[in-house]
Subunit: 339 residues, 2 copies
């Protein structure tokens, strides 16, 4: 056991606890080992002494012995987008229930795999969960070599060995198109995420293909880059065009909020009478009356649950085959679309 | 060095790297130790072999030797509130720049110290940063014994040894009162956070005391519990009272958004002509035109910077005296208050 020195004071060690409790050092070690043989009375005496001294068993040292750190690295690009803040919150509270914790890696951009992520491996993490960022082939290879499974939430991957958890992206687009058709809209547009996002592409494909079945073609597409300001620019382009859309489907709620703001305040349009807006995600803000957004849901809790299931399975079983789980969503109709 | 087994495959060890590079195991160890003596050529050969094998030096094992894990535990109650999501993002990206990472602990409630936090100590974290949650005397004692400094962001503490980083809470209340007085408001109200929040209390004191100087007394106060639904209930009570306020100061932006929603949609009030609303924080959403909220800022970047400064100082110096840093804010005037 190591002692941590700070300000001239050292943290209590296993041997300090043994001395105070009047037991052997190996008894202290057994007291903290699941399933180890130790008398209940001895154990209580040890825990009491540990509490008095402020002793904490060193989980890092323990992870060297058990090969399980109980730490999951989470790479996330942007906590400003409420969807990702929500996913992080769900992952954290669900992992806590099984005694695991998140080591957080935020990255400045949506598309770049942060080279710092390779450092996550140095912490002997049990898995790497990524949202809104994608594993580079290089990182995936390093993880494979180190035996650390990767799960991507809300982004696809063509790399073998990378597991993915998805919402119903293609169906989100279809359902949005169907709802807008049923409610008699005529001029459709799509605000996409980034060009490299498979998620955005699938939502777009579902939307465009479903409209095409009704003979609607040449649907304008603008890229909002998944950012608030990017989506505002996309909305400005679409809403100032000659053939102004009366229905805009956005690849995320966060971008839809921005499109709503621009439509109402900059173009003085009545939402939904002059333009209907649909998002994807159903973040909590979508139900706030400032936005009151119709959206196709992508439940953060269910996405987190699926990702953790994959991690547990890959950490416990001998199979290392990547898994892919699709999480169901549904259209939530609110005030941003015409009845 | 330990090998991690998963799916019948074991992670490469120091000795594997040594073998491939044709050097001794101690050379591999030196290659990864800052300042250790090793020829540049040998080092390159080792790094190349490590890359080929997917070897990562075990930072956990290393932390046992150096007493520095470079991991900071962050306890946070609610990532749904954009202020805290923002603080987490700022802490994460600023820590990354100095090679440190966040181990995340989310807790279900604002006021309760999660007992799980004591587990953070088992991971040999270098410090514990808490936002929107408060260290219990018990936890503070455990941290003290383990030599782990605690920094609370945006909550006070009466516990010796706990450092704090604050916005200008009292001044926020004064400045809000002054602005509302200058702009000819007559009937004031305050939406507080929770009863145990020192932050909310200081904002309230600044507001109430400044109004009292102008002879305004009996200002109604409702508790929004820092939640969206709690603030909505507070707004309903205030706005349905006989003497309906024409100026509401809220202890956070997040609650102010909820109050705005209720005022506009449920009471059909014109904001700001019939009621002005001011928040505290200046989260990014405050500038979105759906809210366009006047607010007293509490810059997340500066709060994170101050907290990290304290951690660095307490980890490097022999002094363990708690530090207290106040971060400056300013009134940002937007459309939710009368000109």
């Amino acid at each position: 056991m190591v002692s941590k020195k700070l300000g001239g004071r050292r943290a209590p060690t296993e041997s300090d606890v043994a001395k105070l409790a009047g037991v052997s050092q190996s008894a202290v070690s057994r007291a903290y080992t699941k399933g180890a043989s130790i008398a209940q009375k001895t154990r209580e005496k040890i825990l009491q002494a540990a509490k008095e001294l402020g002793y904490q068993p060193n989980l890092m040292a323990r992870s060297l012995a058990t090969n399980q750190s109980n730490i999951i690295a989470l790479a996330i690009s942007n906590l400003e987008n409420p969807f990702y803040a929500n996913v992080a919150q769900q992952l954290s509270s669900q992992l806590r229930e099984i005694g695991k914790h998140i080591l957080l890696f935020t990255s400045p951009s949506d598309d770049e795999t942060d080279p710092m992520l390779e450092r996550a491996l140095s912490y002997q993490v049990d898995a790497l969960i990524m949202t809104a960022t994608m594993a580079s082939p290089e990182l995936a290879l390093q993880c494979k070599k180190a035996g650390v499974p990767i799960v991507q939430i809300n982004r696809g991957s063509k790399i073998a060995g990378v597991s993915t958890v998805w919402g119903e992206n293609h169906r989100a687009g279809e359902v949005a198109a169907e709802h807008l058709l049923k409610t008699k809209h005529k001029r459709f547009a799509f605000v996409a995420g980034s060009k490299t996002s498979s998620t955005s592409q699938m939502r777009q494909d579902g939307f465009i293909e479903h409209l095409a079945k009704s003979g609607i073609k040449n649907v304008p597409i603008e890229y909002g880059e998944y950012s608030f300001s990017g989506a505002a620019n996309a909305a400005r382009k679409l809403l100032s065009s000659k053939n102004r859309p009366d229905a805009i489907f956005c690849a995320s709620d966060y971008m839809a909020f921005s499109v709503l703001d621009v439509a109402k305040r900059e173009f003085n349009l009545n939402v939904p009478n002059e333009v209907s807006i649909i998002g994807v995600d159903d973040v909590p803000e979508a139900s706030h009356s400032a936005y009151d957004l119709t959206t196709f849901s992508q439940p953060a809790g269910a996405l987190a649950k699926a990702a953790i299931e994959i991690v547990e399975k890959m950490n416990s079983e001998s199979s290392r085959r990547a898994m892919h789980i699709e999480v169901e969503g549904q259209l939530i109709i609110r005030g941003s679309t015409k009845a």
